[in-house]
Symmetry: C2
């Protein structure tokens, strides 16, 4: 394919290839988690942040609220999170992580670290830091512009 007319291809191709490699590794690591990568997002939010309602969670993560219902159904069935009645509004449900959920998240985070290692394998520490820095600068700029609700979806 070494045609020089490839244009924007250089960046687009590399970006796509790297993203897919990372996404594939991450998705594999989350193969057994209900909801896959998005299940991870919900679980992570439930563990790290104060309990929020399903709607708040859905808006934060850029997930449709009807999808959030199924997602939480599955995660709750797996015993990773729980729905708790909101004492101040009996319509709302607060999403909280269980002990099992916290432990599961720890394992998943390990897997994510590994996935990152796999992707960055060909670079030494200096180059990794450089790539991270440049990507983050570009990412922050990209998020600043248009409305970007999704905070970590894979694709």
């Amino acid at each position: 394919m070494a045609n020089s007319a490839g244009v924007g291809h250089d960046l687009g191709w590399a970006l796509g290839a790297v993203f897919r490699c990372y996404a594939r590794t991450v998705t594999e690591a989350m193969a057994t988690l209900p909801g896959g990568p998005r299940g991870y997002q919900v679980l992570s939010a439930a563990v790290h942040a104060a309990p929020r309602t399903q709607l708040a969670l859905a808006q934060q993560l850029g997930i449709d609220r009807t999808v959030m219902t199924y997602l939480i159904d599955d995660l709750a069935r797996a015993g990773l999170i729980e729905r708790q009645s909101d004492p101040t509004d009996r319509r709302a449900r607060r999403v909280v992580a269980t002990e099992a959920g916290r432990s599961e998240l720890d394992q998943l985070d390990d897997a994510l670290r590994t996935a990152e290692e796999v992707v960055l394998a060909p670079l030494d520490e200096t180059d990794r830091a450089t790539l991270r820095g440049l990507l983050c600068r570009v990412a922050r700029h990209a998020m600043a512009g248009p409305d970007e609700a999704a905070t970590g979806a894979l694709g």
Copy 2:
């Protein structure tokens, strides 16, 4: 979300954000092209490389051969490519670009250049080259490992 336990998030988040920003811009640029980004891949292959059969094209681009049928139907209906009988194998159809297809591809390539500019806007020329270089190194390594048929798919 400023929790330091965010783990691999730094890379994964930035990668996802940048990728989605680029993918969105590119997809918008190809909104009127039949088949969207994948229509572009087929058109580009038809223009730049020697005519190939639908199956060869499908395998090269990582597209299912049944999808390729629809894709080529739409591109042909738009007058951008043509199906030609393969003289050496009457089962096969060679995919070739029309003049209109070539011209359309030129315009799309312009749009891609612009999309790249949009994404890389916050970086100066030196940093852009650095990012490109690092991403390409990582991408080449990622492609070398597992079977990666898809050469430029976005989603």
